[in-house]
């Protein structure tokens, strides 16, 4: 592999890592604060992708994409709020199993709904940022570079939200000790709704951003969910830094795994081999903290 090829695949890996990070960060944030694994996270991502594609194709690629992105994030955030209030509030503090099943049921409902509203066909939208950048004889899609930049911005945004705002301070306190936080007068119920809405919004943002780079179908919910799980587990559930590292690992493995002929068919299998290996060595992931 020449240095040029290496760079090409590395950028491909970064672009994978970019959207996966956005999705996984939402999953991890929700788990960290609420201790709930959201099985419907991929479904929110799927809704956002469809909404973006439909609106962008209605209005026209460039303006339409940005409008679609905003609407998609708003829609998924709203659905997240409804799900939190109607379903999750009733399963906090119960076994993990009940929480898994509750959010799983939501994912079934959303999957069925998406198939009715958007149909079972593949959909695509042209890139809002067309063009290529040529470096060393290889050309890089401008949109991939945009995805990478967007992920970095979102990473900074999430960090700033967690460490520079009152909301973030409360979220971190909720991660550490929700009972104590409640005793200090913070409305934990509302905080949980807010966190879940933010998590759902991140899933939506991931889905909207990925739309121009992939064909969208009604099976992308489970595909992305299983990758987001892998990332969160590798990095450690509840850790945003872990999500970043995990997304980089998974993004690179998929990118390089697909182009190396010997590993091509098993690129995804490698992700799960790494996930298994990490959990065997560090049962709570690379950056995970033990449950109290």
């Amino acid at each position: 592999m020449t240095p040029g090829q290496l760079l090409l695949f590395a950028v491909g890996g970064l672009a994978n890592a970019a959207y996966l990070f956005i999705v996984a960060a939402g999953l991890s944030l929700v788990f960290g604060a609420l201790r709930v694994i959201n099985m419907a996270h991929g479904s929110l991502y799927m809704i956002a992708a469809f909404v973006t594609v439909v609106i962008a194709n209605q209005i026209g690629a460039e303006l339409g994409f940005w409008a679609g992105l905003l609407v998609a994030v708003a829609v998924t955030g709203a659905i997240g709020g409804i799900v939190e209030i109607l379903v999750l509030r009733r399963v906090y503090g119960r076994e993990h199993l009940v929480q898994l099943l509750g959010t799983y049921a939501v994912s079934l409902v959303i999957a069925g709904g998406v198939r009715i509203v958007f149909g079972a066909n593949y959909r695509t939208v042209v890139s809002p940022i067309p063009g290529h950048i040529d470096v060393g004889g290889y050309s890089y899609a401008s949109y991939s570079l945009f995805m990478i930049a967007a992920a970095i911005l979102i990473a900074i945004g999430v960090w700033a939200m967690l460490y520079r705002t009152n909301l973030g301070r409360n979220i971190r306190a909720a991660v550490a000790d929700p009972d104590l936080l409640n005793a200090t007068g913070v409305d934990v119920t509302r905080l949980y709704t807010t966190v879940f809405v933010i998590g759902a919004g991140l899933a939506g943002l991931g889905g909207a951003i990925v739309a121009p780079s992939q064909a969208i179908s009604s099976s992308i919910d489970t595909d992305v969910l299983v990758l987001a799980f892998a990332i969160s587990v590798i990095g450690g559930l509840g850790s945003i830094v872990g999500s970043g590292i995990g997304a980089l690992i998974v993004g690179m493995v998929i990118s390089f795994g697909l182009v190396i002929p010997a590993t091509n068919p098993y690129a995804l299998a490698f992700v799960f081999i790494i996930m298994t290996a990490v959990l065997i060595v560090r049962p709570r992931g690379l950056f995970g903290r033990p449950e109290s």
Partner: protein
């Protein structure tokens, strides 16, 4: 069907339901034939095909429920073993011309091997992380099958041809019914056995399960493997009526089917998932015929309804209805959470306790050291919770450990019973080095423990709490046959009566009042036939009357049954009335040790407690 958890009413109804289900399964083909004769459009073949698929789904779901309902494990890899079973039949047939019947016989063994190996990996993590690890394993197996086109046929799947004897759909139906029936019988024997009791106790309370001597990880691996065996059979049967195996059978989302079916039928009954399977097949067929896309939504709504409103599934509907009716009639005798209201303590029966054979009664040689702790230390980062503690407990002694909050008493206990591993030092019990051994090993050497925070099996009855402790102590829980609830029944009843809980022996332990749950806690630690009983603040939260009664029982048992006691306690009257030896701990170290009289007059001890008093007054 037997309930996991006993309930006084409805047992006859349940066995009636089993009979109805059995007859229903037997008459599906003739009914389908009749239906075809009446409706020219209907196809008996299709109805029987649906029946076959329901039977296979029932087997698959019940095997899943061995983990879900009986042990409390959520696996995302169970579908993979189902797929492995189907592919075993298909690939043996296609590549080696092995008859499919032989393939079906091989399927459980292949599934067992795959289940055991992957189970060993999944065992590295617990609870949620275990679930996520099974997800990775499932996807790994899926991509292997999906991508190995040359061997498995990739996404084309792999097909078989049935022998002539089985091509008739009615014959195939009855063949499937017999195989499923045999498997269900085997699983039924298993869940009622002492092994099943061990699984239930793990589901109820992992910490207590290991403290009565159950090796939680090994039992979890065992049930995981056993479940894969039956999933393998179900997968093998699947390919018999479908004649094709697909890679999607192994995909992690395929686990939704057995989970939903178990949930609909009820995870806390043995046959609940079977009823769920028939409902599922009928629903799926009826709904997807008219509304192909709506099935997911309806399924999701059902799961939501079950999770939020009827946690016990269809089998629990009678209870839900009964509760609704009670609410409607404003019945006075609604389910009382605290039925016993601390009565137990008043009814402690020392004579019965002394007669109980469950409690050890070996002759002891006073003066011999039973437990010796040598230079034991435990650090959490920079915090020295226990620092260089050495002490000896003589056989037959009643040894109290006292000290202000944060002195390291509970940490010391956790080091002794294996909940924590020491940083350095040694623990010798009865001549054996038990330093850093896991809790279940230490429990089996003869150390029983009552925890400071009540640690019992809340949904099991009081008697079962004691029975299972005795089963585990006797090493019976490895048995996959026999009827656990009939073993040690009399002994457990005797012990329950001794601690005053005889009248509530059939109630779920979690329904009793706090004081009575403490009594169960103490009784469990006695039921283990232990040479040494560790009591971590045995009377925490009890009234002074309850405390007196409880300690009287403990004292007399200790004296007359030659128990060795090691306990920590804040209530000084308890300490000085019960202990023969007192060790005082302060900031992780042993301050001093001696007789109660010596301790009472030791100025250092007074200073420690006085110091704490002053700090408290200062509000620190």
């Amino acid at each position: 069907m037997t309930r996991l958890l006993p309930r006084s009413r409805g047992d006859r109804l349940r066995w009636g339901l089993v009979l109805v289900l059995f007859v229903f399964v037997a008459v599906i083909p003739p009914l389908a034939g009749l239906y075809e004769n009446l409706n020219p459009d209907a196809s008996a073949r299709f109805q029987i095909f649906l029946g076959t698929s329901a039977l296979v789904l029932a087997l698959w779901a019940i095997s899943y429920n061995l983990m879900l309902g009986y042990t409390g494990m959520v696996s995302f890899a169970h579908a993979a073993y189902y797929g492995v079973g189907a592919y075993t039949v298909a690939l043996l047939f296609k590549r080696y011309n092995v008859p499919v019947i032989v393939g079906l016989a091989a399927a459980p063994f292949v599934a067992a091997v795959v289940g055991l190996i992957t189970g060993l990996v999944a065992q590295r993590a617990v609870r949620l992380y275990f679930s996520l690890l099974t997800l990775a394993i499932s996807q790994l197996l899926f991509s292997l099958v999906y991508q190995s086109y040359d061997i498995t046929g990739g996404d084309n799947g792999a097909s078989i041809t049935l022998p002539d004897q089985l091509t008739d759909y009615t014959t195939l139906y009855y063949f499937t019914a017999v195989v499923v029936g045999v498997c269900l019988l085997l699983m039924f024997i298993l869940v009622r056995s002492p092994l099943g009791a061990a699984l239930l106790s793990i589901r109820e309370n992992r910490q207590r399960a290991s403290a009565i001597g159950i090796n939680v990880k090994v039992y979890e691996l065992a049930v995981y493997t056993i479940a894969s065996v039956f999933a393998g059979v179900a997968g093998g049967l699947f390919i018999f009526y479908q004649q094709q195996a697909y890679p999607e059978m192994l995909y992690w989302t395929a686990n939704a089917q057995p989970v939903v079916v178990s949930l609909m039928g009820g995870t806390n009954t043995f046959l609940g998932p079977a009823i769920g399977a028939f409902i599922y097949v009928v629903l799926e067929n009826a709904i997807s015929k008219h509304f192909p896309y709506q099935f997911d939504i309806i399924l999701g709504a059902i799961v939501l309804g079950v999770v939020l409103a009827v946690p016990g599934g269809v089998s629990d509907l009678p209870t839900v209805f009964a509760r609704l009716r009670e609410r409607f009639h404003r019945a006075e005798e609604a389910e009382a959470p605290v039925e016993s209201a601390g009565e137990a303590i008043r009814m402690f029966d020392v004579r019965k306790a002394l007669a109980s054979e469950a409690i050890q009664a070996e002759e002891v040689h006073s003066g011999k050291t039973l437990l010796s702790i040598e230079h034991l230390s435990k650090r959490f980062g920079g915090l020295r919770a226990v620092e260089d503690v050495s002490l000896e407990v003589k056989q037959g002694d009643r040894h109290a450990i006292i000290g202000p909050n944060g002195a390291g008493k509970s940490t010391l206990f956790n080091l002794l019973t294996g909940q924590l591993k020491p940083t350095s030092g040694k623990v010798i019990f009865d001549g054996r080095d038990i330093t850093g051994k896991p809790p279940h090993v230490i429990a089996r050497t003869g150390i029983g423990r009552a925890f400071q925070i009540t640690t019992i099996f809340p949904k099991l009855t009081v008697r079962q709490n004691l029975q299972y402790a005795m089963l585990a102590h006797g090493g019976y829980t490895v048995r996959p046959f026999g009827f656990a609830n009939r073993m040690f029944r009399a002994e457990a009843q005797e012990l329950a009566e001794a601690v005053g809980l005889g009248a509530w022996a059939d109630l779920p332990a979690g329904q009793l009042s706090h004081g009575d749950q403490r009594a169960i806690e103490i009784a469990i630690s006695l039921a283990l036939g232990s040479k040494l009983v560790l009591l971590d603040e045995p009377t925490a939260g009890m009234s002074s009357y309850e405390t007196d009664k409880a300690m009287e029982l403990v004292r007399r048992l200790a004296t007359e049954r030659h128990l060795t006691l090691l306990f920590c306690e804040h209530d000084m009257s308890v300490v000085f009335s019960t202990a023969r030896t007192v060790t005082v701990m302060h900031q992780g170290r042993v301050l001093t040790a001696g007789t109660p009289e010596q301790i009472r007059h030791n100025p250092d001890v007074q200073k420690v407690y006085l110091g704490e008093l002053e700090q408290e007054e200062l509000g620190a």
